[in-house]
Symmetry: C2
């Protein structure tokens, strides 16, 4: 029931409270004898410094606020785990805020987050409003957007080179001899959804072929299934480029439900390469986002901003690569 304080340790060790503090402060300056006495007393009493008190005076909480949504999409738990490990390794910890998908509420969340005096904020899969951007700036709390871009120059962000990537995916489909290509895009309210769609259109226009269809799957399984049923009705596409793997699994399930075989009757390509994409039942051809490197970059960015105080926002776009599996035909149609 008792919280041991540095004062109690000091008393037992026969030194001042400041001495105890110094022993537990990395950049210490204490004699070997003092260190020994203090460590002994601390061990006897089971003393551990109160991180909150330290945070108050130092102004550094060693807490990073993480805003995350879409946890049903395997990409995010994976990223969360990597993020947490990377941060833990540097002595930071994550205060997690699960976000509603609507924008206003995210603002409220971030304000709550800032009340905890977090040293930085990583916002995954959410956008932030401009007023909020200003508040964060003003409070001097660095913000890094993860897997989401930001038009305003306020924040740093790290994403894949979504537009280029989507273009590459589309070209792959075109090269494979597909000509009736549909795109089930990610939520158009998100930069990733818009960028990937733009990349799709880039490639189609460059080859002068019309999209078979283009709809917004909202990054939602049920919506993606409904879109797919629609698409399968009547004249069918011969390929569907889906805005992320999570929706692509829904597309695959729906295609099979209709008695068709993915990769044979219709090609499907996703985006992310979550672990499940490699599982035999899905065997999804997809564009791999370099999640390891993305996490590393996000952590480095936020650390740099925390340490430097101010760093001009950086926009990082990393390259991934297409992973070929069974859900999409590779060879040209004529060579079949």
């Amino acid at each position: 029931m008792s919280k041991i304080t540095s004062a109690q340790v000091a008393k037992r060790a026969g030194v001042s409270q400041s001495a105890v503090s110094r022993v537990f402060t990395p950049g210490a300056s204490a004699s070997a004898k003092t260190v020994k006495k203090v460590r002994q007393a601390a061990a006897d009493l089971g003393y551990r410094p109160n991180v909150l008190a330290r945070a108050m005076v130092s102004g550094k909480s060693r807490i990073i606020g993480l805003v995350v949504a879409y946890l049903e999409n395997q990409f995010y738990p994976v990223a969360l785990e990597l993020l947490s490990n990377a941060l833990q390794a540097r002595g930071y910890h994550i205060l997690i805020f699960t976000a509603p998908n609507s924008a206003d509420d995210v603002d409220v969340l971030i304000e709550d987050l800032m009340d905890y005096q977090v040293d930085g904020i990583i916002a995954a899969s959410v956008s932030m409003s401009s007023p909020l951007a200003e508040r964060a700036q003003h409070s001097g709390v660095p913000v890094v957007l993860f897997n989401r871009g930001q038009e305003s120059g306020a924040f740093s962000h790290v994403t894949s080179a979504n537009r280029t990537a989507a273009r590459a995916v589309t070209e792959f489909l075109l090269d494979g001899g597909h000509s009736r290509i549909a795109h089930i895009a990610g939520w158009q309210g998100s930069s990733t959804g818009r960028d990937r769609q733009a990349g799709f259109l880039d490639a189609m226009q460059a080859r002068d072929v019309q999209p078979f269809a283009m709809v917004d799957g909202m990054y939602d399984r049920a919506v993606a299934m409904a879109c797919t049923r629609q698409l399968l009705n009547g004249a069918r596409p011969d390929a569907i480029f889906v805005g992320n793997d999570h929706m692509a699994f829904a597309v695959l399930d729906t295609i099979r439900e209709a008695g068709l075989t993915p990769g044979q009757d219709i090609s499907v390509v996703g985006f992310d390469d979550v672990p499940m994409a490699a599982w035999a039942s899905y065997d999804l051809t997809t564009y791999r986002q370099p999640v390891n490197r993305m996490v590393e970059a996000a952590v480095n960015l936020i650390m740099a901003q925390i340490e430097a105080g101010e760093v001009s926002p950086q926009k990082l776009e990393l390259d991934g690569r297409l992973i070929l599996r069974g859900s999409a035909r590779i060879e040209k149609a004529e060579t079949k």
Copy 2:
């Protein structure tokens, strides 16, 4: 760059700093006039109370430490999201610690967690050592184990009635006319793994049938696949009861890889009923853990312990139910 403090608000509002504090304290006692002036000044300045400072003096951080592992198993992200939402709704937030699966390191983690003066700890899918149990007890920090039991009476926990549930699953398989039933158990170092295995054995013994095989899948996909390949070699089982869905998906993939059809050539039943189990490609018959109720119970328990100071540990075991899908044969063999 500036953190606004209550003193600054007080000055602008022309009241004392205590008055400002009262206005922002729920159980306040301030005149309407004071409230008005203070709120105005606070709004002008963009003031928000420093949660850390409040935590220091009140001794309540409104932070719950969550220890979690196995994030690749969809059960945990789902639980995490529910937990976070439930806690957020009550004004608490989660400081997350991703756990290595080995026991010693968990202890270190929990100590780190306690340094943040968390008001309570929810440990999902991990066990805690006895010495640590004592420390937590001693510090007066309530601990609730989630989806994992604890022999020692030290902590509260909430789980499914794993043994009974596993027994029911096994009986279902037996009733379905299966006689060569294998069990790929969860990690035997975990209570859930042991309890489910015990339930499996209960049912088998009651019917006087020998297990076809019993192995430890370690809650790991790769291990489960290896076990399944082994099982498929030579005389095959006609059913496999798998310790959780995450492994069951691996089993299903492996069975198909061998050219067999789950639910036809061999029945498979999982445990959890994660969302993916319902997806057409897996269509997994499984025992549904009542995750909503489990989360609710865990949150209520921890809240009760925080508010009451001391509450004797409670062991909650909730009932779920078997969800029938296509991966396991239902009718008796003879009626086929």
